[in-house]
Symmetry: C2
Subunit: 298 residues, 2 copies
């Protein structure tokens, strides 16, 4: 059990991820006041000890830490820093903790705005999905000043495992790196299983044979299983995967970095989405590899 | 402990991998007769209950199963099927078990020759390296007729975990798939860590943050650790990696398969080898990603 340590928490965005996170913070002893755009979602939290505010500023008022778990960078910008933005309701010295997945450049700009307002800022996106949020086992990638990230340890404790990866923006960049590795590994496993099948090997048994060796990965285990069983209900739809790899390539381009595997992976997902695969799980990239190689592949 | 079941084993090639494998078979109760091109390597096995023969035919005479753990496809061809080849010393009904990593087309051709001689044939390359060979924990990718692979179960038991992946050649193809996934995942992790570093995140902490999530893999754990510590002593040198990815692309080309990530990965390793990285561990691909992106990257 984390020490609540007297910190009062405001929580913006109680969707699929935010709701269980707010619940876990309240259960750990923090006073939590939450806001959500559609009020009925936040309403269900009251029974679990979460106060509900009618506006973002209402959730921020009196908070020491204001968590944002909203749908995108622009939504975070608007809810935190727009007219009626929540940031201006915070007392000087409070911390904005953005746990949404947003572009690194957006996180850095938000950190600058926060600093001008006398506020601290940490971007700390997560990996682990709804299950991780419910179980408090999220991987948390935190960017910001070390002292501020350290002070947030009791807030992170009920949510998962934090790693301080660098200054503001570094958390969001790390999340993009995570998505890039996942996408490229899905591509690698897809190509290998298509090659195996073309040569008369059984893809399901090939996957089985590779478990535990150097080719083993969470992708081989989870996405690879979807590939060999043909279960492509998302999960992580290709249309979101393509946004992530696109955002990673934007960052690379801005840094004049050429990343050939990332580019080739993004192009494959673009082909998949253009050919009707947008709403399939990203593991269905194997179907795209088969498609471009002609109808003879099962 | 495996049941030796009365099978007599001939063993060709007692190098880094073959010696501990022959030892484990002898320790499991099989009569094992080994041959090695440089006799002194085989000589050391006598103390562990392995008989040593002066010629390949001497190791094969009287064997029910003839294991080949030699350095390449051409060497297997010569030692098994050349003039004075060991195969012709086997009795009809015996099994040739090639555990070397050889091209799938070589394995299929050897299977045909074996069939013409009244012999069974299984290609069963392994993954797990010297440590896996010593511990009996190799991943064994077996191609051949199901009944023959089943009969070999007691022979595989002291060596590791076998998976029957398809007909003759499928084992070798699976090994290439393993190598392809490893190479591409090394590329994916390299690109992600270079991107992270370029944006001010600490690559070592980024790797740490991603452990346990969807981006996790044996490559992230082992090769990724080498990347962030700069320990590029092989391990698996790039010059061997490039042979494997090249062989995989040969098979793909012969099947008219376009595998864009495999091609891009192979090109990256070609650049690494051409620029002096041939003898570095394949995880040093991260240096090549930095090199092509100019000297400003650490």
């Amino acid at each position: 059990m984390a020490e609540a340590g007297g910190l009062r928490i405001g929580f913006l965005g109680t969707g699929i991820m935010g709701a269980p996170m707010a619940r876990r913070l309240a259960a750990a002893g923090f006073p939590v006041t939450a806001w959500n755009r559609s009020a009925e979602k936040a309403g269900g939290l009251a029974a679990d000890g979460v106060s509900v505010a009618p506006t973002p500023r209402g959730a921020a008022a009196g908070a020491d830490v204001l968590v944002a778990m909203l749908s995108s960078g622009p939504v975070c910008d608007e809810v935190l820093f727009g007219p009626e933005g929540a940031a201006s309701a915070l007392a000087p010295g409070a911390t904005i903790l953005v746990m949404s997945s947003i572009p690194p450049q957006t996180a850095r700009a938000q950190a600058d705005k926060a600093r001008e307002m006398g506020l601290s800022y940490v971007d700390a996106p997560v990996s682990g999905g709804e299950k991780g949020a419910q179980a408090g086992t999220l991987a948390i990638m935190a960017g910001g000043e070390a002292a501020v990230v350290d002070r947030l340890a009791p807030v992170f404790a009920p949510l998962g495992r934090p790693t301080h990866v660098g200054p503001a923006g570094a958390g969001s960049l790390t999340k993009l790196c995570n998505q890039l590795i996942v996408a490229t590994t899905i591509g690698a496993v897809s190509e290998a299983l298509v090659l195996a099948e073309s040569g008369g090997a059984d893809p399901a048994r090939v996957r089985e044979a590779l478990l535990g060796g150097f080719a083993d990965s969470t992708v081989l285990r989870q996405h690879g299983l979807r590939m060999v069983t043909g279960d492509f209900k998302p999960g992580g739809p290709a249309k979101y995967q393509i946004k992530d790899t696109g955002a990673a390539l934007d960052v690379a381009r801005a840094a004049s970095l050429d990343l050939p595997l990332a580019s080739a992976t993004h192009a494959l997902f673009e082909g998949m989405v253009a050919n009707g695969g947008a709403d399939l799980d990203h593991s269905a990239l194997i179907l795209e590899i088969k498609r471009v190689n002609g109808p003879r592949r099962g």
